[in-house]
Symmetry: C2
Subunit: 344 residues, 2 copies
C-alpha cells in the first residue's frame, strides 16, 4: 500500500475540532500509510493534539484557515463568502493535488456547491450526488443516492444518478450486472411524481442499465436491488428515518430489563443474549456507515454527518481512504465516458 494524504475540514460539524482531531488521531493509528492535513484555526485545533505522540504528529500538519462555513448558512451565500474557510481550503488542497480527498462534516449545500465549482463534475454529469452503501438483509450491500445534495431533481438527473450508482456497484462492490431501482410510493407504472416516471422511461430505454423498476421504501434493507435512486430530499428523509428507528431499537435493547432485580444468573444470560442481538444489529448502527461520498466529481469528497461523534468521523475518514484506493472518481469517469454520449 502506498502513502496517501487526506485534507480534513477540522472545523466542520456540530462539534468541530473536539470530534475531528481525536478522530484524525484514531485514523492515523489505524492506518500507518495515512497522512492528514487538518484545515482550520490552529488555536482551536492545537489543544486537541495534546495527546498525539511524535509519530502521529509526523504524519499530520495544520493548514490554517481563518473562518468557518456556518452550518445554517444558505449555500449560495456561504459559497460567495467562502474564501479562507476551512471547507474551501480543504477542497483547494484536493484541487491542487496536495491531498487526494477531502472530508467535511460541514454545511452539505455549501460543500456540494464548492466541490462542484472547485473540482468540477465529470463529463455528462450535471450535478454530483451524495451516495452511501447500506448493508442489506441478503448479506449484500445496496448503493443509495442521492442523500441530500440535490433537493429537487429532474428526470435526467435521476437517470444520471442511476448510472453513477450502477458504476459504483459494479466497480467498487464488484456486482456484475447491478440491479437498479427508483424509489417510489408504489410499484405500479402510474405511481409517483412525474420526474420519477420520466426517469423510469429513460432507464428502461438504456441497454447498459439493469433497471428493475420501482421499489418502495420498505424494501430499503431487503436487498431486492443493488442500487436505489431518489432525489436528495427523499433520500435524506429515508436515511434519517432508518437511523432514528435503528437508534430507538438499540436503546431499547440496551436498556431492556435495567433497574429490575433479577437473579445474577438470569442477568448474565440476559446480558449475553443482548450482546448477541446487538452484534446482529450493529452493522445498521449509523456510526458504522457514516460518510456519504459526493459522486460524480473529478475528486473524492466525503460528507460526514454533522452530528458525527469521534468514532463516526473516523469511519468517514476510512471511507475516504477506501474511495482513494479504489479510484472511485477515475473509474466512474471512465465508465461514464463509455456509457454516455460525449457532450459537446
Amino acid at each position: 500500500m502506498i502513502d496517501l494524504t487526506l485534507a480534513l475540514d477540522a472545523m466542520g460539524g456540530d462539534y468541530g475540532p473536539a470530534v475531528t482531531v481525536p478522530a484524525a488521531l484514531q485514523a492515523l493509528d489505524a492506518n500507518p500509510h495515512l497522512h492528514l492535513l487538518l484545515v482550520g484555526s490552529p488555536d482551536a485545533i492545537t489543544p486537541f493534539l495534546a495527546r498525539a505522540d511524535f509519530e502521529q504528529r509526523s504524519r499530520l500538519q495544520i493548514i490554517p484557515a481563518k473562518s468557518v462555513v456556518a452550518s445554517d448558512a444558505r449555500p449560495a451565500q456561504a459559497i460567495r463568502a467562502s474564501r479562507g474557510t476551512s471547507m474551501r481550503v480543504a477542497l483547494e488542497l484536493v484541487k491542487e493535488g496536495r491531498a487526494q480527498a477531502c472530508i467535511s462534516a460541514g454545511n452539505t449545500g455549501a460543500l456540494m456547491g464548492l466541490a462542484k465549482s472547485l473540482l468540477k463534475p465529470v463529463d455528462n454529469i450535471e450535478r454530483p450526488a451524495l451516495m452511501t452503501v447500506l448493508p442489506n438483509q441478503q448479506c449484500g450491500k445496496t448503493v443509495v443516492l442521492d442523500l441530500g445534495a440535490n433537493i429537487e431533481c429532474s428526470s435526467r438527473m435521476l437517470a444520471q444518478f442511476a448510472i453513477m450508482g450502477s458504476v459504483m456497484a459494479q466497480e467498487v462492490l464488484g456486482i456484475e450486472r447491478p440491479r437498479v431501482a427508483l424509489l417510489n410510493i408504489g410499484e405500479e407504472e402510474t405511481k409517483g411524481r412525474e420526474s420519477i416516471r420520466d426517469a423510469s422511461a429513460q432507464l428502461k430505454a438504456d441497454p447498459l442499465i439493469n433497471y428493475i423498476g420501482y421499489l418502495e421504501a420498505n424494501d430499503l434493507l431487503t436487498g431486492k436491488t443493488d442500487v436505489l435512486v431518489c432525489d436528495g430530499f427523499v433520500g435524506n428523509v429515508t436515511l434519517k428515518t432508518m437511523e432514528g428507528v435503528v437508534r430507538m431499537f438499540l436503546s431499547v435493547l440496551k436498556g431492556q430489563g435495567e433497574g429490575k432485580k433479577s437473579a445474577w444468573w438470569l442477568l448474565l444470560l440476559k446480558r449475553w443474549l443482548q450482546n448477541r442481538l446487538m452484534r446482529r444489529f450493529s452493522h445498521l448502527n449509523p456510526d458504522q456507515y457514516n460518510g456519504a461520498c459526493l459522486l460524480g466529481l473529478r475528486g473524492t469528497v466525503i460528507k460526514s454527518h454533522g452530528a458525527a461523534n469521534q468514532r463516526a468521523f473516523a469511519v468517514a475518514i476510512e471511507q475516504a481512504v477506501q474511495a482513494v484506493q479504489r479510484q472511485v472518481p477515475q473509474r466512474i469517469a471512465a465508465r461514464l465516458e463509455s456509457v454516455l454520449p460525449k457532450s459537446d
Copy 2:
C-alpha cells in the same frame, strides 16, 4: 355504546375477500355493537362466510358491487370508470347515511379522489390528507400526515394539514396545546423545499398553532412533536422506511438462535427473553397501527394498507369504529370553522 354500521370495500387490497371477510368476522366478534356492510361480488365474498355463525350473519349484509377499482389504475381514469365498483358503492353508503364510515384497502389515489367528490371536504380544506397516529418513545403518540394522498403539496396545503393534525391531536388524543412540526432535512430556517419554508412562515404567524419549527426524520419516534406534517410522497416513504426497518428487526429477533443446538433450558430462557423483547417492540409492528384516516372530509374514510393481512385489516376496522365514536370529522369541521376564516 350505541350500534354503528360501517361499509367495507370487501374487494380492495392485494388479497380482497380472502382477507377482508375474515377480518370483518373478527371485528364483529370483538364488538357486539358493530354492523358491517360487505360491498363487492357476492360470489367472491360468500365462500369466506362459511365459518360465520348465525349471530355474526345477523350483523352483516352483502351489498353487491359489480366491479373493482384496479390497484394499479391511474386515479383519474379509475374515478371516471368507478360507477358500480365496490369502493364507490361503499363510499356512497356513507354519503347516503346508511353507513357511518367506509374502510378500503384499494387504490389510494382513487379512494382519495372518490371520497373527496362524494363526501366533500370540510370548509377551508382544499384537499384531504391521510393521517396516522404513531407511538413514540415518550410513551405518547404522534399524529403524522400526509401519508400519500397528495404527492405534491403547496405551502397552503401543508399549513392546512398542520391545522387538521393539531385539531386531531387536541380533540382525539387529548393533548392540550399540541406541538406541531414540519418534516424537513435540517432544523435551520434555510433548509429544504420552498413550499416547506413558506408553510413554516404561515404557521409561525398563526397564534392558534403551537408551531415548533422543523424536525428531521430521525425524530419520527422520539416524541419531540405531537404533530408531524409533510407532503404525501415524503410521508409515504417515511412510514414505509420505518415499517421495513421494524419488520427487519422483528424477523432478526424472531430468528435469533434458530437452528442451533442448545440445552433445552437455554432455549426456553432465550424464548422467554425474546418474547419480552418482542412485546417491547410490538407496538411498532406495522400490523398494529394499520389504517390511515382520510382527514378533512365530511365523513370517515379509513385507508388500509393494500398488503394488510387479516389482523391488520381488523385493526383498520377498529380505527373506523374509534373515529366514528370520537366524531373526528365533526370535531375537525367545528374547530376549523372557529380557526379559519369562512371561505366565500
